[in-house]
Amino acid sequence: MEAEAAKLVGAGLAAIGAGMAAIGVGNVFGSFLESALRNPGAADGQQGRLFIGFAAAELLGLLAFVVAMILIFVA
């Protein structure tokens, strides 16, 4: 395989990571909503933790995007 083609294939494969991060972020908000509906009184106090979880899950998806960008524009 040519090097240029391999780079683009690699960048495409990195998009899988973005999809995985989508599952992760969906999980974070889904679980929050599920438990928030069971105990709405405690939900507001957990908003900080919700966004920490969201940030951690999202960062890994963004890393996948960085990998794709590096493969296309830098490598």
Binding site: L8, G48, F51, I52, F54, A55, E58, L59, L62, L63, F65, V66, M69, I72, F73
Partner: protein, 262 residues
């Protein structure tokens, strides 16, 4: 470069250009050209200053403007109270400046002033800018930590009740997770902003190429892409707010570590 085929280059919006013929300004051997990035930072600061100054009237019965500013300061105050405790009050000025600066920068970068022929520039989509912000936050954590706890600050790397056999590996992991913080902080904001703007430009190239290619592609490609673009723009406004909030929230959590250790 992969972007040569399309008419819209999604990376062109991130180009830094010197303005007003300042390309050759130098100070002690360094180029200090007044770039579009600097221009938008100046605009952000002026707008932010105007916004806050307009609400600093300290009236007993606040008007709308003062109410808007106070709801932001109250929001940051509550966040620090919840995450750091009463020692958090002294960081309100820093976290407030940080949050509002990033929020205004993100939102200004999304302004649709391209239709007027101007080019909005999102300086938070540059790693240098977010990197400096993250390093400032990280230095505050280090300075506060060592100032308050001295050499005991290193106990941050060993949580309470760690079994003796596990001290070394846990200290190593905690040390790395501590040192990686400024990078993850800066990378998150920079990539989130950049990804959104690239996505918008890619969709805009679909719209333009679709319209140019004929009636069929106009209906099948350009119009759905345009609808998606509007939806993504709304999502980007949400992301602009969330990323500013996450940056401020994580900074306050790190400050909590420095104030209270584990």
């Amino acid at each position: 470069m992969a972007a040569e085929q399309g008419k819209v280059d999604p990376m062109k919006q991130f180009q830094i250009e010197p303005l007003f013929g300042s390309a050759n300004w130098e100070l002690a051997g360094f180029n200090i050209a007044f770039t579009n990035s600097a221009l938008w930072m100046a605009i952000t600061v002026i707008l932010l200053w105007t916004f806050v100054a307009g609400g600093m009237k300290r009236e007993l019965v606040p008007g709308r403007w003062q109410m808007a500013v106070e709801s932001f300061t109250g929001f940051i105050d509550d966040m620090l109270e919840a995450n750091v405790g009463k020692e958090g009050r002294k960081y309100v000025s820093y976290i407030f400046s940080l949050f509002m600066f990033i929020l205004f920068a993100n939102l200004l970068g999304l302004l649709p002033i391209g239709v007027l022929g101007l080019h909005p520039f999102t300086f938070t989509s540059h790693f240098t800018v977010t990197g400096v912000l993250a390093v400032i936050s990280f230095s505050i954590v280090l300075v506060v930590g060592f100032w308050k706890h001295g050499i005991k600050f290193f106990t941050l790397f060993v949580p309470h009740g760690t079994p003796a056999a596990m001290v070394l590996p846990i200290a190593l992991i905690e040390f790395f997770s501590f040192m990686i913080r400024p990078f993850s902080l800066a990378l998150r904001l920079f990539v989130a902003m950049m990804a959104g703007h690239v996505l918008l430009k890619v969709l805009s190239s679909f719209v333009i190429d679709g319209l140019n290619a004929g009636v069929g592609t106009s209906l099948m490609v350009a119009i759905p892409s345009f609808a998606l673009m509007i939806a993504i723009s709304a999502l980007e406004i949400l992301v602009a707010g969330i990323q500013a909030y996450v940056f401020a929230l994580l900074t306050s959590l790190y400050i909590n570590d420095a104030e209270h250790l584990h």
